[in-house]
Symmetry: C2
Subunit: 263 residues, 2 copies
């Protein structure tokens, strides 16, 4: 980065104001790097947020931590930022998978947003017998996850995995990952009780059925798998997206990273 | 109800199929009562769901339990149903309040839906210092709550209270109701730890701030109130609607009615 640029912009706003503008980028991040932002981000910074050369933003890429960067050149469809200083070192984030039967578009958008905020590390659409939505738009799923990661101050994005049939997805299941099955039948242990009985070394995944629920034989087959723990989410009927969010919240509160506070 | 009608329709579909059609009505429910459904419900049953005279639906009104009712007369804008038999007696549902700073329209809709599914008994919009949304459409809030109550098989609706300024709402606070404050400052106890320390006799309310968070002095004032328990919801920044749902899920799982299973 040119010395002149650094000197002139010493008084540029830093990232301590609220809300901070945080962007996910794919480029490597290190002091002095110049990052060419793609057109949609350039548009957002210059036209929507009205930022100018010298203004600061925060960048993360899932690998190199969070960095302060200063706008070097701002045009309507092109924006170059100069990476300045490290704000937060990269660190491990929760290892918590979400397997869900695809829902209608707006509810899948919402689910991706909320699951990302709640710290899911993997979003995996799985087809069950009664899954109605046929196609999953993975680009849209990723875009919603990126926006939520930016806003929630995550340092990573959740992985988005190619859709699979549920039973095929479970054939190569990692034996050390407990699959928490949201079981609406009324026979499963309440979630708090079931999670209290897990081992501290367990890794977790949450499985949510489609709006119509699992088929009876599907549920039977799931319950027989050694890595599956069926759990109940109370006496009311929850929509699939509600069950996903409620399950993730309980997992984080009881066996996840909600024992930590915010930085 | 005419005897002929009952005899002819003995083979009418009952309410055991999925999804059941459940409607909230204001009328009193008792065997033999004829209920005149308002035009939107008549339209839904006859035009959207294509039900005909003799088909069965379920009705509840928040007071008299859930009843099977049979369509007596179906026209496009008018539908009369004959109340038949009691399916579930009225019973107490959770006593769990949600106080929230109003959000933008779509997020308030979503919040009303999810909070109802998660068993909130009261939805109370409160204005905080940084609340941006100025007006709350209470009819819309009620309509979303009704639809969610119908789908989630609740026997009650949540009450919807007139918006109030937060500090005025707290001036006449019932001393036996613990107010769980979602506190993003990073200094509060994690929610699971805080809830474990409450008394079994406690009643609860959850308070969620606006998108911009509580003002610092507002948070200080809240923390000093004897009925307030600040709790943390982990290291990430949650949107206000996410915090509301996550907080309600944890409350139900740890100190609420998620110890019960579905009927």
């Amino acid at each position: 980065m040119p010395e002149k640029f650094l000197t002139e912009n010493r008084a540029a706003p830093d990232c301590s104001y609220q809300p901070r503008i945080r962007l996910y980028v794919e480029a490597a991040l290190a002091a002095g790097a110049l990052v060419d932002l793609p057109a949609p981000q350039a548009h957002y910074l210059t036209n929507v947020m009205r930022l100018k050369a010298g203004d600061a933003v925060c960048l993360f890429n899932g690998r190199d931590g969070e960095w302060r960067a200063v706008i070097h050149e701002a045009k309507r469809k092109a924006c170059v930022v100069a990476v300045d200083s490290l704000l937060r070192a990269q660190r491990a984030e929760p290892d918590l998978w979400l397997l869900f039967a695809p829902l209608k578009k707006a509810r899948t958008d919402y689910l991706a947003e909320k699951a990302t905020e709640l710290g899911a590390s993997l979003l995996w659409p799985v087809y069950t017998r009664r899954t109605v939505a046929e196609r999953v738009n993975l680009d849209r799923l990723r875009a919603n996850a990126i926006e939520a990661a930016e806003q929630s101050e995550r340092l990573t994005l959740p992985d988005v995995r190619e859709p699979a049939k549920l039973m095929e997805a479970l054939q190569s299941w990692p034996t050390d990952r407990r699959l928490i099955l949201c079981d609406e039948s009324g026979t499963a242990k309440p979630i708090a009780e079931a999670l209290t009985a897990t081992k501290p070394t367990d890794r977790f995944a949450l499985l949510i059925g489609p709006e119509g629920g699992f088929a009876a034989d599907e549920l039977d087959a799931l319950r027989k798998l050694p890595f599956v723990s069926p759990v109940g989410l109370g006496p009311r009927v929850l929509r699939a997206d509600t069950a996903a969010l409620a399950g993730l919240a309980c997992l984080q509160a009881l066996v996840g990273d909600w024992q930590q506070s915010r930085d």
